[in-house]
């Protein structure tokens, strides 16, 4: 890739990165921009923006609920692109767009990639886009519009496939700490130690960001032992349900970071 993607430079610039997930249009429709600006103030390293989907299979109740609220608020891919377009000049960190495949296909894959590029999205993560489907219908478009393909790997991904995914991905490799939907209450990060150690020993091209089962400072630190990035999702969405946007960001980022 010829462009210096913001994700690539961010991962080159700092040893430990913190990322938060937000659902676009949640809790209120304009909160996408409000939160992104607050996260800039809080010095976040990168952000995943989730496009809501009515039937998201990967998500547990907390994020599902946020998707439902966002959809009721009127969030669509079109609206999200407009929101990002208007706020992008005020934020400097990389943005990863995360969403289910169907809304993107209905939007039009090329039109989607072009718009992502125009509004300054750096990476795209589509959980139900399989590697082979990516290679067939998305890869050349991602390259054309300088989008980093972000892929997930899980404790069940075989080593051979993991290396294959690593070879196709760029920006970072999203390491799911467990086989679960988001926000699963019955799993803890420390249970993933052996798996994370196994991944650490592999000769991967991409830096790693670890997600799932991370909600406290201790867990962020634990994740940083095995990957450069730590991603927090459901815990932040829960926080947003309790507090207003700016306070939620300030408190939560402080809570997760040593300094």
């Amino acid at each position: 890739m010829k462009t210096s993607n913001r994700l690539v430079t961010t991962f080159q610039s700092k040893p430990s990165l913190l990322s938060l997930y937000i659902t676009a249009g949640f809790p209120k429709l304009p909160d996408t921009a409000v939160l992104l600006k607050e996260l800039q103030k809080a010095n976040i390293d990168f952000v995943e923006v989730g496009l809501p989907f009515s039937d998201s299979l990967m998500d547990g109740p907390t994020i599902q609920h946020s998707h439902q609220v966002a959809l009721e608020n009127g969030m669509t891919l079109e609206v999200l692109m407009e929101q990002l377009d208007s706020v992008r000049s005020e934020i400097s960190y990389p943005l990863v767009l995360m969403g289910a495949l169907n809304p993107i296909v209905q939007f039009g894959v090329e039109r989607f990639c072009e718009r992502c590029h125009q509004v300054g999205i750096d990476g795209v993560l589509i959980p139900d886009l399989t590697l082979s489907e990516y290679q067939k219908n998305f890869k050349t478009l991602y390259q054309k519009y300088h989008l980093a393909p972000i892929f997930m790997v899980t404790p069940r991904t075989s080593e051979a496939r993991l290396l294959e995914i690593d070879a196709e991905g760029s920006g970072f490799l999203y390491v799911m700490s467990s086989s679960s939907t988001t926000g699963a209450a019955n799993k803890t990060l420390s249970d993933s130690k052996a798996y994370l150690e196994r991944i650490q020993a592999l000769p991967l091209r991409n830096p790693k960001a670890i997600g799932f089962n991370i909600s406290t400072r201790e867990e962020v630190e634990f994740a940083h032992r095995y990957g450069q990035g730590a991603i927090v999702g459901s815990a932040f969405i829960r926080k947003l349900q309790q507090t207003d946007a700016s306070k939620a960001v300030e408190d939560f980022v402080k809570e997760l970071r040593l300094n």
Binding site: F53, S54, Q64, L101, Q106, P127, D128, V153, S158, T181
Partner: protein, 426 residues
């Protein structure tokens, strides 16, 4: 249309699944079947998150081999005959024939053990899961028929069983909830979205994601990621396999003029059509649930109101908003209350191999009452859609029409009682 020589070549090059080791030639030619990449034309495929990739890959690699193995076939055939009570009869419904104006034959899937065709599929899938060494079975259910059929086989084969069911469906099909519990299964309400079949499927997928190791997801219809649509179609194809022998013996005609079945996801329809797909003289009719009418917002007629997209791991036709959110379906019948249809059916629609008709709640209810009264058969509400569809066809008196009576109506008794109390005529 392919010239005949090519069609015979397909017979040897592709891999038809053979049940019932028989000396007779297999009927299936493969023109409407899944290709090696898991697609039916533009439909199908396996769009699953990476966490389920190993499960789907394992299934893709093994399902054909296991289904065709002698060990599987022997056990499956024995249980189909001794436990499911197959073959099911083909019955000439004389009074209905008079009413409709054609020779109507009912394929009596309603007399299967557990009261519907669903057991053909769950028996096969659970046997397969056992061979793969799985310990726990999960399933989704709409009307409860698939849930009951899954719970039944899990009781028979001693496996843990967990069924996801929409909260709304749990209320409207309460006896089936208790049946599943009696059979030792755990029933978990799906409380998201419309709280019906689509949401039960979501919850089952999420449960599988959370516990993928030794769990097997028994999908109840011909949808989901490849190889599910093909696997379920193969298991349900026993319906048309029997019809190929019964039709000549009972009707005196080599082939029926029509085969009619209702479509939710489409498993009884595919099962009934399967061995007739390459017989162009046989007209295939799929009855979708129009709900309150396809012009209203309360419908489940996917070929009329749907658009191509990706839902539940497959590319198919389903009802969605312009920006790709899945729309909630409506049908009085919980088993048809699903916004999409299986990819093979979408392909049959695309190729115009099957004709799709939309049947309203009211027409289905009337058909159910009619069949009960004049034939002594209380059909499932789902199957009543197929009966009602007969009135939309222009039939001649001598024509042979096979209708798949996919299930019996015990589960719908309350709906029928309520509906009947509002009617004066019947």
């Amino acid at each position: 249309m392919k010239p005949p020589v090519y069609r015979w070549l397909f017979l040897f090059s592709a891999l038809p699944i053979r049940f019932f080791s028989s000396a007779k030639p297999i009927f299936t030619k493969m023109s409407y079947q899944v290709n090696q990449h898991g697609f039916y034309g533009p439909y199908g495929g396996a769009y699953v998150p990476e966490v389920l990739y190993p499960n789907i890959e394992e299934l893709q690699q093994h399902y054909q081999h296991i289904l065709r193995s002698e060990r599987f076939q022997k056990e499956y055939e024995t249980l189909l005959s001794q436990f499911v009570a197959r073959p099911t009869p083909l019955y000439e419904a004389r009074r209905l024939s008079e009413e409709i104006g054609a020779r109507i034959f009912l394929k009596r899937e309603d007399v299967c053990h557990t009261g519907s065709h669903k057991l053909n599929n769950t028996l096969g899938q659970v046997l397969l899961a056992k061979q793969l060494g799985k310990r726990k079975i999960i399933a989704e259910t709409g009307a409860g028929s698939h849930g009951v059929a899954t719970a039944t086989v899990c009781a028979l084969l001693n496996l843990e069983c967990c069924v996801y069911m929409g909260e709304v469906d749990m209320q409207r099909q309460y006896p089936n909830v208790e049946r599943m519990r009696l059979l030792g299964a755990t029933v978990i309400p799906a409380t998201s979205g419309s709280k019906t079949l689509k949401d039960a499927v979501n919850e089952a997928f999420r449960a599988w994601i959370n516990e993928p190791e030794d769990t097997f997801y028994v999908i109840g219809s011909v949808f989901g990621p490849h190889p599910y649509p093909d696997m379920v179609a193969s298991l349900q194809s026993v319906i048309s396999k029997e019809l190929r022998e019964q039709v000549p013996a009972i009707t005196g005609q080599q082939l029926p003029d029509y085969v009619v079945a209702c479509v939710g996801g489409g498993s009884n329809a595919i099962g009934s059509f399967y061995h007739f797909l390459d017989e162009p003289s046989v007209q295939l009719i799929a009855a979708e649930a129009a709900g309150k009418g396809i012009e209203t917002d309360y419908s489940a007629a996917a070929t009329f109101l749907g658009k191509q997209g990706i839902l539940h791991g497959t590319q198919t036709l389903f009802m969605q908003t312009p920006d790709g959110q899945v729309k909630e379906a409506h049908s009085v019948s919980a088993g048809l209350d699903y916004p999409g249809i299986g990819p093979q059916l979408a392909y049959l629609h695309h190729q115009k191999r099957a004709q799709f008709v939309a049947v309203t709640d009211k027409d289905a209810l009337d058909a159910a009452l009619l069949l009960s009264k004049i034939e002594g058969i209380i059909p499932a509400l789902e199957s009543a859609h197929a009966i009602a569809a007969l009135r939309q066809l222009s039939l001649a008196p001598a024509q042979v029409v096979v209708v798949c009576l996919s299930g019996r109506g015990d589960k719908d008794l309350e709906t029928y009682i309520n509906y009947r109390s509002t009617q004066n005529t019947l």
